[in-house]
Symmetry: none
Subunit: 212 residues, 4 copies
DNA sequence: TTCTAAACGAGACGGTACGTCGAGTCTTTAG
DNA sequence: CTAAAGACTCGACGTACCGTCTCGTTTAGAA
């Protein structure tokens, strides 16, 4: 599964790989996306263009791989969300953190680049879902499942849908710059989600709570 | 209201304008977005490149203008949503229609191009919100307000937020191809929105409905 | 002979004609020839492009006409060369004057432009010969004929050839910048021509000089 | 002597260089000079435009280099003129050959293009003198010097001037199309030059002929 | 003096070529 | 035997002019 190159050119290989990723990330974070060219990446990484094309088929792929690696570095362990038992508080915390991430210009540019590449390339989109979106979604769903089991969410709730109702409005506002991204906005989305998917009073009492 | 070009080779001007828009739309709808070049547009429109650059500063602008014009043609009158009095049914209808639009490959490519251009150009994004998104949002909010007045939505509901909860998940699924866009999905979003923003049972009974 | 325009918008016509010529000459004299464009001429002359194209078929023609007009202005009367009776002195004077003309940067650029246009356009070349070169050559030949009759040139000398031997080396040096254009050089050409075409000693004694 | 490019993709480089030169020469020889565009050269050579611009700064330079290369190919050895001992005959031969060259339409266009480029670009003119004109002039002067030593030319004659008197009239007639280029014309130039620069009878008897 | 028709200035138009840039490929040389 | 270096083909970029084509606007002469 690992790279496991027979001889030991591994060192060099890995060094240039990291240099390419770093250069890519810096360029994306720094400036306008049209300045992110393969030539600029190669130059900044101190690498030949062919060393890039040997490994990735297109600029999109490099950018994508660089951002993917970014999140993989951070995630030695799978991402986990806080679980204090207070679903509303935990969700609010996470949503507010997301809002703040989007406010960082570097992060903004990084994600905007990623989104742009993904939007027009179905293969990349699939890889994105597999390697980035899904693990994150699973971590989030885990927290929701815990809440569901604790009767804080409707037993029938589709947890994927809950996540969409929470995050998609945030994402869309950010992408289209169609409104302010504030803590209050984050909370209002948490409120809406909890109203939509919270326990339905009197109708479906949480399992195992029969003896009120 | 009309073009009313004071002086002008108005005929020619308008003809080439339409040709440019048509060519742009065709190219975007037909094929991969990287084939949509200013040269291709000019060639297909039977127009000099300069005629394009004289009017728009960038490819983004032309594409945007072409799609904008598309919607302006359709909208002699402001868009209006069905209002049968049955909010759930009306929303379901509209959401299902949206789902179907996204299923059309031409429309898909059109909107994907628009989204991509907008994502990386704040000025274009502003124009998009002003000229395309807002009128549509207002029409939708009008329908929701009618429902609110009829007590089918909570009186305190932020109608913009309701729209986001309805549409953003749909949009995100489509953009990221992260799940099927089906009628059932549309309905589940309507359900969620109505649970989140429907009248709060027993708390705020709809005005004037005391005598059931 | 004259333009014989049916009606007579002559004043305006003539004004713009002069403006075009002046603008053309200024542009040619000022700067690099590639900056001499029809658009630049029209702009500087305060004239529409069509006013130029209505009268001349190409940039070459305008430039040519402008320079032609320049020499026609000067030449109310046909050009005449000094005839003091001393052929060597007269030729030296004229050749030295030519050398000095070529030293003037404006004149240099003017003639260089003219030469360039003429070299690649046989029709223009014909017009040049007819309207500019021939009258000048005839004036010069007249002076030579006078000398011939005075026995200062061989009676059989081809006067056209004499002029070529005098002027062509000068012209070529100037065109190719292949050597200094000096008064001494002018004189050495006069010497050579006189040696080549002067009276052949003892063979054909000048008429009427029998009694030395 | 060789290009000696430190590193080098020499094979490819040389192949494309030759292709560019061939294409340029063909285009110049074939047709009107305004059809000789960098794009046309690149297309015909099967080469990217950038490969041309990487090596030469302007169309002029390419054309010049192509024609220069043409003459360098021919001249493995330095050019030499016939020396039969009979100066008049040798000059007549060479001048007549020149006249015939100018009669060839391809050669005519080639030289006309070269002349045009050179006339308006002092740097190119310098290179032309250095690399094309001078070697040729030196070969011709060598022949004249031989004649001078044999007493067939005046000992004081400026050989450069002799060449100018011989060739400049020919060149000018050709450039301006101001008269027929014939064998007779060539001979009349030889006659004139020999009269102008031949031994001055009785004044300076040729060296080494003391014992007349 | 008013009317009429040409020529006019202005400048947009369909084009061609410019010279530059970047994508992705290919080749050479150094390590 | 891989990687840096960088030249290569290709094709789009955005600009400059070409020569053509309307547009109103003078303007001079005829009515």
């Amino acid at each position: 599964m690992a790279d496991e190159k027979g001889p030991g050119h591994s060192r060099r290989r890995e060094r240039s790989r990291q240099a390419i990723f770093a250069a890519t990330r810096d360029l994306v974070a720094e400036g306008p996306y049209e300045k992110v060219t393969v030539e600029a990446i190669a130059a900044r990484a101190g690498v030949g263009k062919q060393t890039i094309y040997r490994r990735w088929p297109s600029k999109s792929s490099v950018v994508f791989a660089a951002l993917l690696a970014l999140s993989e570095e951070a995630d030695g362990q799978p991402p986990a969300l806080p679980d204090t038992g207070d679903l509303r508080a935990d969700l609010s915390l996470v949503m507010r953190a997301t809002v703040e991430e989007f406010a960082d210009p570097s992060f903004d540019r990084l994600i905007r680049a990623l989104t742009t590449e993904i939007a027009n390339d179905a293969a990349l989109a699939a890889e994105y879902r597999e390697k980035l979106a899904r693990p994150l979604a699973e971590a989030k769903e885990a927290r929701l499942r815990s809440a569901q089991e604790a009767g804080q969410l409707d037993a029938d709730a589709d947890l994927g849908l809950v996540l969409e109702v929470l995050y998609a409005p945030l994402f869309q506002r950010w992408l289209h710059r169609s409104g302010p991204l504030s803590a209050a906005y984050a909370d209002s989305l948490v409120d809406a989600a909890l109203r939509a998917f919270g326990p339905r009073a009197g109708v479906k009492p949480p399992a195992g709570r029969t003896a009120g």
